[in-house]
């Protein structure tokens, strides 16, 4: 892919997220051509340090989003604690403090479903480790919209429930190890 690459990557993770993401995000080259959105379940009443941690570790810029943040290629966007992350169009984000979905705000389902509307077949959706059901419906929406869907192999996930549920909802998903997910993204990075 070149710098004119279109599309986006969206990743959902819960229990065990930090470790799994640490094996994926820092490996990406500075030339990675797509925006990457990351939804991790974080406690609602504390500031999250994820963006800072990954900004320090990654060659790509990592930020926690604010409302109406413009979307640029090669930036890693973390959903903030206590807000849902939605997409207005391919260039702008919106936040919402609507009710929790499956006890989660940010909700992976909400963000994935919204991203599926906006990017359709040009979206890569990835579900990683987690001990709940969030993300399964969202990944299904991406799949229905023609996007690429990938799930971390439950066998090497810190918590299996989230990848297992995602696979049950999207049997056609590619089930990959963390190393293979990382390799897949690298192969998409020109």
């Amino acid at each position: 892919m070149t710098s004119t690459a279109k599309g986006a990557v969206i990743i959902g993770a819960s229990a065990g997220a930090l470790e799994a993401l640490s094996l994926i995000l820092p490996a990406l080259p500075a030339t990675f051509p797509l925006p990457i959105f990351v939804i991790v379940h974080v406690p609602p009443h504390k500031p999250s340090v994820l963006a800072d941690i990954f900004n320090a570790k990654c060659r790509l810029r990592a930020i926690e989003v604010e409302d109406k943040e413009p979307i640029e290629p090669g930036v890693i966007y973390f959903a903030p604690p206590n807000y849902h992350m939605l997409f207005e169009d391919q260039s702008s984000l919106a936040l919402s403090n609507e009710d929790e979905v499956l006890f989660s705000r940010p909700s992976i389902d909400v963000a994935f479903e919204s991203a599926a509307e906006v990017w359709g077949a040009e979206l890569i959706g990835i579900i990683l480790t987690g001990a709940n059901q969030d993300g399964a419906r969202g990944l299904q929406a991406i799949s229905k919209a023609g996007g690429t869907v990938i799930v971390q192999n439950p066998e090497d996930a810190y918590a299996k429930a989230m990848p297992e549920t995602a696979i049950a909802f999207s049997p056609q998903a590619q089930v990959l190890s963390i190393a293979d997910i990382s390799a897949y993204l690298m192969s998409n990075s020109g």
């Binding site: 604010e66 413009p70 939605l86 997409f87 919402s96 509307e117 919209a145």
Partner: protein, 277 residues
């Protein structure tokens, strides 16, 4: 979902929002589409409508449908001293400036069910400013405003509110301001002594006075960029030089056309001060 189907739904949404505007003067036409779409689908599914067009038919002919639609279209999520560090910053850095004025006006725009309002009233009381302050609490949802005016909350929420109040630098016990019974807690009527509740839309209404502080948290996230500019324009016109504007934790003036009219006052807490320009 196919491309063509999606477009039909967007047309239906636009027509429904037009219907709401022409019939009832509630204007959601420039709200952030992503969450409007989500919430209209919830109305459709929860109320058993086949399509969004079917909802439009009902909304036009049945006024009872309006409050139901408003319940969905306006998100009523709030909490007392939500983001305690914001209220702590108001207390520690804004209040010392406000003390220098003999009388004060504070506007809580999009006050929802009142939690943000009462947080500020309690804070002002603790700081000895309540007596000289007039609070304007405004919202477009009449049910929310009525609840704000009643000041009744579920008892189980008080634990969180109390902890927030403490973290916000509360000087008293929150329980000094309410009495409880039947799983409810009723805020002290005296907290409303200096409050004016009123129906006001940041989309369709004008400025109504000069304020020393406007607090508008988690309202503009539901607007698109153009509408955000209108709302910030209202705040700009309400705030004389050196007056304050507080936004929600993840909102900012970075993308506003009026950014130049404000300076960062407490950057991390999204508290701005009006400049001369």
């Amino acid at each position: 979902m196919t491309e063509a189907f999606e477009k039909v739904e967007d047309i239906e949404i636009r027509l429904l929002l037009e219907a709401l505007y022409h019939r009832y003067h509630y204007d959601f036409r420039s709200y952030a589409m992503s969450s409007v779409r989500r919430r209209l689908r919830q109305v459709r599914d929860n109320l058993g409508f086949a399509t969004i067009s079917a909802m439009q038919e009902r909304v036009l002919h049945d006024p009872q449908m309006l409050p139901i639609m408003l319940r969905y279209l306006t998100v009523q999520v709030s909490e007392m001293f939500r983001d305690p560090s914001y209220f702590r910053a108001i207390r520690e850095t804004v209040v010392p400036h406000l003390r220098t004025y003999p009388s004060l006006k504070v506007w809580i725009a999009g006050c929802s069910t009142g939690e943000e309002l009462y947080s500020l009233v309690i804070l002002f009381r603790e700081e000895g400013l309540e007596e000289r302050t007039l609070f304007y609490a405004t919202d477009i949802n009449p049910e929310a405003l009525a609840q704000a005016e009643a000041g009744v909350y579920e008892l189980e929420r008080m634990r969180l509110f109390t902890e927030n109040h403490r973290q916000a630098g509360g000087k008293t016990s929150l329980s000094d301001y309410y009495h409880s019974g039947y799983n409810r807690c009723v805020l002290d009527k005296s907290l409303r002594r200096n409050v004016v509740f009123s129906d006001h839309s940041l989309v369709t209404d004008q400025v109504f006075g000069e304020m020393h502080l406007v607090s508008c948290r988690n309202v503009m996230i539901y607007f698109d960029r153009v509408l955000q500019d209108r709302a910030v324009g209202l705040f700009k016109d309400s705030l004389p030089r050196n007056a304050f504007l507080g936004l929600g934790a993840k909102e900012s003036l970075r993308f506003s056309e009026h950014a130049d009219a404000f300076r960062d006052f407490v950057r991390e807490e999204k508290i701005y001060q009006r400049t001369g320009s």
